[in-house]
Amino acid sequence: VRCQQYPPLRALQASAALRRASDEHKKEPWASSSQQHFDSPPAGHQPEQKPQGPHPSYTGQGGQESEDYESEEQLQHRILTAALEFVPEHGWTAEAIAEGAKTLGLSVAAAGLFHSDGSELILHFVSECNRKLSELLKKEQKLVQLGEAEKKPIDEFLRDAVEARLRMLIPYIEKWPQALSVLLLPRNIPSSLNLLTSMIDDIWHYAGDQSTDFNWYTRRAVLTGIYNTTELVMLQDSSPGFEDTWRFLGNRVADAMTMSNTATQVQSTGEAVVQGLMGAAVTVSN
């Protein structure tokens, strides 16, 4: 709480100094993924993203007047992103985070900033995947608006969106079951549920769903079910290129479409029956 009272002055001097030093070294392999982090990066961040760019201007005395400072959150983001590279080897653990911190030039003790069960790492990964999905869908939508691409039928759209999102798990698929179990810990359920629902929301939004009635809930429930079951199928799929999973996904989406068609049919049949009964009642009363 005390720290928040003077954010501009209390720059993270140690990490800022490290980043100035790392600017002079070769570009780190993960730097490109960190570019996606900052939607509106402060001016001082530019040098980090363009390794051949100019160095930040600073007076260099205690770093107090340096322009490139970052908040604790941004540093934590960087560490977690760097840690993802080590997940296939170490799993979603404090060890992976420690290795990530090491690549940033920080001490391995920085892993102590996070929970030892890797919760934050997993949640960070999930929210990053969701963000990438949003960007992908937005780009596609722009292409359609510009007339450069055909608008996909709804089932194809849903299938492609879920497939794109699930493909992001492929590099980490071996350790993903561990991640799922951590996401189900009571402590993490609010956040993980939140991330899931906003992702499903996103997909429906870009699919063009404008419903304001009960359909809104049914659509989300259905798609969540499709996503979760496909994810579980993917975890034990050993077919080449996960073709079994995508086939399963296609079937589930087709099922959902049939179901909704049936529902509409049932509704219109129901209306027809009601009208018939009304007519019969009028006839009888006459």
């Binding site: 993270l12 030039g105 001490s107 003790a109």
Partner: protein
Amino acid sequence: AGPEMHFGFQSVTEEERREKIYQVFETVAKKYDVMNDSMTLGIHRVWKDILMHKMNPCPGTLLLDVAGGTGDIAFRFINYVRSVRQRQLQRKLKHHQNLSWQEIFESYQKDKFNSLGDSQVVVCDINREMLKVGKQKAQHLGYSEGLSWVLGNAEELPFDDDRFDVYTIAFGIRNVTRIDLALQEAYRVLKPGGRFLCLEFSHVSNPLLSRLYDLYSFQVIPVLGEVIAGDWKSYQYLVESIRQFPPQEELKAMIEDAGFFKVDYENLNFGIVAIHSGFKL
């Protein structure tokens, strides 16, 4: 003379305080561990274990244990990284199922001589007697690898900047005369991203418990000191110094002043002991 400071409930100058504290620990050094066990009924071991668990060090960590005297934290650290390292090696072997026996043997040989995974702990204490006791204990218990003993003052550490991953001070910061200097030194010697951990007696806010605690502290502990260590005065000092030490929030503010981020504390046993943690970011 210098500014007035407290030595227990007495008022002394800075220099006098340093001298008196040195003498206290010189006298109690040999019975330090025994007294810890009897005063805290062995619970101090649990506190130190909790500290180690909180630190959760991975192999390759360089630890500086200040005021580490008789080596309790250092030995726990070595045990912890050794077991983590074992698990790491086991996992690596599981992945090596496709290698030939020769390759497995070679990798095992290489790792066998690195059972600590390059972890190291430096025990630093201002008091020669405490260090002596610590070294004897290490020899007796068989700790030799990854361990070194340095005579030094927490207010002016004999180490370069940005050297250590973790800095711990367990039940020692209370005896430092200029706590702000010790905190600044801690900041200086830690690497960027390094962690500061302080385990220390603190303030109990629960009124009932506080009264029982006071009763125990002032009536029982000095008596134990006389009976077991033959030294009433040192243990009177101990108990008084606990009361004089800043409470949790104040210490947290001091740590933040030294430049640490994400400063937090965890009360153990309702505040009898507290672990403060901060990061050099």
